[in-house]
């Protein structure tokens, strides 16, 4: 498990990360979303031991990270703009990483290169941005580390490649218990793959929740009350997160399980009543609006 406790980092007058505490459990996909400059990359660099935090603690499997070789062997970091050797080829990178990571799977790397249509002997400088991204993800997957930490994971990848990469993540999770940590400035890129999401804004964590529990604990109700029923009285004693009315149709987002919500509205006659599963996007919007943020501007535009 990766755990950060009260993590803070400043660059001069700029607060890059401020008091961030979160947990990344093993064999789950952790997604970290936030705008550009929110502190995602800085947080990942601290987690991977590139930067040293000003305050707080980072533990990977209960061990400190910074300058700790044994801990660093457990993860592979793919930055937003990965570096490759000048005039280097995919073969060169393979050789290099094979020396650095004892568990590097050379055969699998060669196979995947072929599958993804990448020429191992061609200079990486001649690759497109997407190809470089593919190469770095393949190198990361083949390094055989327990954690794969990717910054702006799918940036530059076309939808087919994204799907291919997501499949590889899923396979490695199943085969060898990989724990991917993915960041994006766009929530929609991550929602179908992540088990747990963190929302970072201006260096601080706004939200960090399991997606399943988020989905289970928030319900979206669409209903038309029978004549004489006051909506306000019907919503009394309910933890309502949002309420919209269009004509006689009420759309209510409220906290609670499906059963609790059904039971609550059972005592109020309705002409139409339906419980819908809210999308991740809707959950995020609802949750962050509660604490005063207009999330749509932050991660959906």
């Amino acid at each position: 498990m990766i755990e950060t406790i009260g993590l803070s980092k400043r660059f001069g007058d700029v607060r890059a990360v401020e008091n961030v505490s979160l947990q990344i459990r093993e064999q789950e996909v952790f997604g970290l979303v936030g705008t550009n400059g929110a502190g995602k990359s800085t947080l990942l660099r601290i987690i991977t031991g590139i930067l040293k935090q000003d305050a707080g603690t980072v533990l990977v499997d209960s061990e400190v990270v910074f300058d700790n070789v044994e801990t660093k062997k457990k993860f592979f970091f793919i930055p937003d703009d990965p570096y490759f050797f000048v005039n280097g080829t995919a073969e060169d990178m393979k050789k290099y990483y094979a020396e650095i990571y004892p568990g590097f799977d050379t055969a699998r790397f060669e196979r995947l290169l072929k599958d993804f249509g990448l020429d191992g002997r061609r200079k990486i400088a001649g690759y497109s941005k997407g190809m470089k991204k593919q190469l770095s993800i393949l190198l990361g997957l083949c390094a055989g580390t327990k954690y794969l930490i990717c910054d702006e994971t799918f940036d530059g990848l076309d939808p087919v490649m994204r799907q291919g990469i997501k499949s590889l993540f899923a396979k490695d999770m199943e085969d060898r218990g990989l724990t991917p940590v993915l960041t994006s400035h766009n929530l929609r890129e991550l929602e179908d793959i992540c088990d747990h999401m963190g929302l970072l804004h201006q260096g601080g964590i706004l939200l960090s929740e399991d997606i399943s529990s988020m989905k289970l604990s928030i319900q979206k109700v669409q209903c038309v009350f029978a004549a004489g029923i006051e909506a306000d009285s019907a919503m009394k004693d309910l933890d309502v997160l949002s309420h919209n009315v269009r004509g006689r149709l009420h759309t209510i987002t409220a906290r609670g399980t499906r059963e609790e919500i059904t039971a609550h509205f059972g005592s109020y006659p309705t002409i139409f009543f339906e419980i819908l599963s809210p999308s991740l996007e809707e959950i995020f919007i609802t949750e962050t609006e509660v604490v005063g943020y207009d999330i749509k501007k932050l991660i959906l535009d």
Binding site: F11, L51, E63, E70, P79
Partner: protein, 736 residues
């Protein structure tokens, strides 16, 4: 939580694997290093071989070749400048990944301990230098062996030379590593390397300039620059390029002697250099560990050093600009001070602004931290006035007698050639500092107080073109009990207490540190050798007679014995009141077997007083005596020409040099001159008031004495000139 551990990485990658891995990415530097060393060592060796063939004399050829290869590959290695470039490039390039955030992300997240990465890169840099250097040097040596121009002395010279250059390399390498950790880009790292290498010598030179310009009694002692941390200084300064010593010992294959000589000259500084190397490596490692990885692409990686750097560069730069521009414009008058102050203020402002622009990479940041400007300018001006106005009383400061361990006194009036143990000429002050240990601390302090005060007064009273002094000038060295050695300029007034000066100049210690006859082991050794030739010439200013010693005569040694006995009478009173009747000169020459010459030659001068009976008797014994009443007879002189050299000030106060001449042919007058005239240089103004070289007499000889003809001349004191002659001189027309 567990502790950090890098052991398993050690297991997965061996030292060689790591070096191979990193070398793959430093191929360009490997190639450049190989190119340089193979060109310098192998091609250079071959070129020397080709350029010097064929030789007519095999031995001469061998000697010449050994000397040429020793000069080129040995401790006098002439192409060290390129080693500095290589070291600086390796130091900066090795850790240049720190300047690129992408590379930092790439390397720093890998499971490699920072310590491991540091030493892998560090050792790789050394290997890039060492391996091509050693291989090319070995090949060069093989070429020399094959061609027969090789012996153990040359090998010792080459190996010691290689070690010294390696020390130079490490010194620069470590400094450039420190510079690369302090900065955030390659350009700044290069500038920082230059700064770190120059800051010490520039500071020393600046202090030297300030002291020598503004402190009257300051003397630029060679000890002042004896110890420096700068690796370049430690490498190049001790060298004695082109010394015939190397040529001789290598040709005669005496490696032990060569190493002992080189070590005696350089070992001290090499040890200092090694200590500096260890310290700079430690600092570099510490900085590497402390440097934050987010500091790529910034100008300076440690915020804390920015103001310190600005202050040092600002103050040094402002003062240097002030002193250089003052010197370039040749200002020396009262306006010079204000001119220098103006330059210091302007330079301080410009440097502070420039520093901020560089720090921020932004021209608009020039007035950021504007309060630094008055601090830099204020400190610069304060330091300037400390020297200009001698705020701390440097010129007045005389050590307390109780603090003085010993002293050394050199008066410029004593013309004395002195040599070191290798018979190389040295300055009298260096000779005195080596051999003179005056013990009378009270007298030293007293003479120091009188001499320094008078010297300052004389200097303050001088104007441009008028350098008259009111006493005998010289140097006084105080050796303090704390180990400090301080030398000051002094001027001893003509009315000095004779007894006080005799307490110093009448001692054995004074004579041992002034006269070569007390430190003459090397001369005696040369005289006793097969190749040493000794000549003795004695002159009274009119006549001179000489003799060349036979192989076993030990002419010098016998003369020295007699002269030393006579020197027992020597003191300041003798100098002041006595009158030398002649001067003996001894030339000792080594007829070298070296086909290109290069033998030693020394000449020594011995003033002979009437009281020096042992010397005069010896001169008589060997047949070069001259009658003290002078051998030149008046009948032999056609005429005597008296010259008066004087300084005449014009309306603007400028002093011009002129002379007046009167001639006499009457026998009576000539006889008076012959009686009083003395050799030039010996009639120094020990009597005070008048300089002896103001008056001279030249005699035109009609019947030449044996072996001599033409014109003879000597000096004469004003009081020895008849009154009529003085009147004639005053009436004569001055000529320029």
């Amino acid at each position: 939580m567990t502790s950090k551990n890098s052991s398993s990485t050690e297991k997965t990658m061996t030292f060689i694997q790591k070096q191979k891995s990193i070398s793959r990415r430093r191929l360009v530097l490997w190639v450049l290093s190989c190119l340089y060393f193979f060109t310098a060592h192998i091609l250079g060796t071959l070129m020397i071989l080709v350029a010097n063939r064929p030789g007519t004399n095999p031995e001469r050829m061998r000697k010449s070749m050994l000397d040429a290869f020793s000069t080129y590959l040995g401790t006098r290695y002439p192409i060290w400048f390129f080693v500095i470039i290589i070291a600086a490039v390796l130091g900066i390039q090795g850790f240049a990944y720190l300047y690129d955030q992408r590379k930092v992300d790439f390397y720093e997240n890998q499971p490699i301990a920072r310590k491991d990465r540091f030493f892998t890169i560090y050792i790789n840099g050394i290997l890039i230098y060492v391996l091509p250097c050693l291989v090319s040097l070995a090949l060069a040596i093989i070429i020399l062996m094959v061609n027969g121009f090789f012996n153990m002395a040359l090998l010792a010279d080459i190996l010691y030379g290689a070690i010294r250059v390696f020390i130079l390399f490490l010194g620069i390498y470590h400094v450039s590593m420190i510079a690369s950790f302090l900065t955030g880009n390659v350009v700044m790292a290069g500038m920082m390397t230059a700064f770190l290498l120059l800051v010490e010598p520039v500071t020393r030179l600046l202090l030297e300039a300030l002291r020598s310009t503004f402190f009257k009694t300051y003397f630029a002692d060679t000890f002042a620059f004896d110890i420096m941390l700068n690796p370049v200084y430690n490498y190049i300064i001790p060298g004695q390029w082109g010394s015939s010593f190397f040529s001789r010992v290598i040709y005669e294959n005496r490696p032990g002697e060569l190493l002992a000589h080189v070590a005696s000259m350089r070992m001290g500084r090499d040890i200092v250099a090694l200590v500096v190397i260890a310290a700079t490596l430690f600092i570099a490692y510490l900085l590497y560990q402390k440097r934050r990885n987010e500091m790529s692409s910034v100008a300076i990686a440690f915020e804390g050093i920015k103001p310190v750097l600005k202050l040092v560069v600002g103050v040094l730069g402002a003062l240097c600009c002030g002193m250089i521009i003052r010197s370039l414009f040749g200002f020396t008058g009262g306006g010079a001070t204000w001119f220098t102050v103006l330059i210091i203020i302007l330079a301080g402002i410009v440097i502070c602004c420039f520093a901020e622009v560089i720090y921020d990479m932004n021209i608009h940041a020039m007035f950021r931290h504007a309060w630094h400007i008055p601090v830099v300018v204020g400190l610069s001006l304060f330091l300037f006035f400390v020297f200009r106005l001698d705020l701390f009383g440097y010129d007045r400061k005389v050590p307390d007698a109780s603090d003085i361990q010993s002293g050394a006194l050199v008066l410029h009036n004593i013309n004395n050639n002195v040599y070191d143990e290798n018979l190389d000429y040295i300055e009298p002050i260096d000779f005195a500092q080596k051999y003179m240990f005056l013990e009378d601390a009270e007298a030293i302090a007293e003479i120091g107080a009188i001499g320094q005060e008078q010297y300052v007064n004389t200097m303050n009273g001088q104007t441009e073109g008028n350098y008259r002094s009111n006493g005998w000038q010289g140097l006084l060295t105080y050796r303090l009990k704390g180990g400090w050695v301080i030398t000051r300029r002094i001027e001893i007034p003509y009315d000095v207490d004779e007894a006080l000066l005799n307490r110093l100049m009448g001692t054995e210690e004074y004579k041992e540190g002034t006269m070569m006859v007390y430190q003459d082991e090397a001369i005696r050794a040369l005289e006793g050798s097969e190749t040493g030739i000794v000549k003795l010439v004695y002159t009274d200013g009119i006549l001179e007679r000489g003799i060349q010693a036979g192989r076993t005569e030990e002419l010098y040694s016998r003369f020295a014995e007699c002269y030393r006995k006579d020197l027992e009478q020597f003191d300041f009173s003798l100098l002041r009141k006595g009158s030398p009747v002649g001067v003996a000169r001894i030339d000792v020459t080594e007829m070298s077997t070296d086909p290109y010459g290069g033998g030693q030659y020394v000449w020594l001068q011995f003033p002979v007083y009437r009281e020096y009976t042992h010397t005069l008797n010896f001169l008589k014994t060997i047949g070069v005596e001259l009658p003290t009443d002078n051998a030149l007879r008046a009948e032999e002189v056609m005429d005597a020409r008296v010259e008066w050299h004087e300084e005449i000030a014009d309306e603007d106060g400028n002093v011009n040099y002129a002379y007046r001449v009167v001639s006499y042919s009457d026998k009576e007058m000539i006889e008076q001159f012959l009686e009083k005239v003395r050799p030039h240089d010996l009639l120094d103004a020990w009597s005070g008031e008048e300089s002896a070289d103001e008056y001279s007499v030249s005699f035109t000889i009609n019947t030449a004495p044996e072996g001599y003809s033409g014109e003879r001349s000597g000096s004469i004191r004003r009081e020895d000139l008849p009154a009529g002659v003085l009147k004639d001189l005053e009436n004569a027309v001055p000529m320029q």
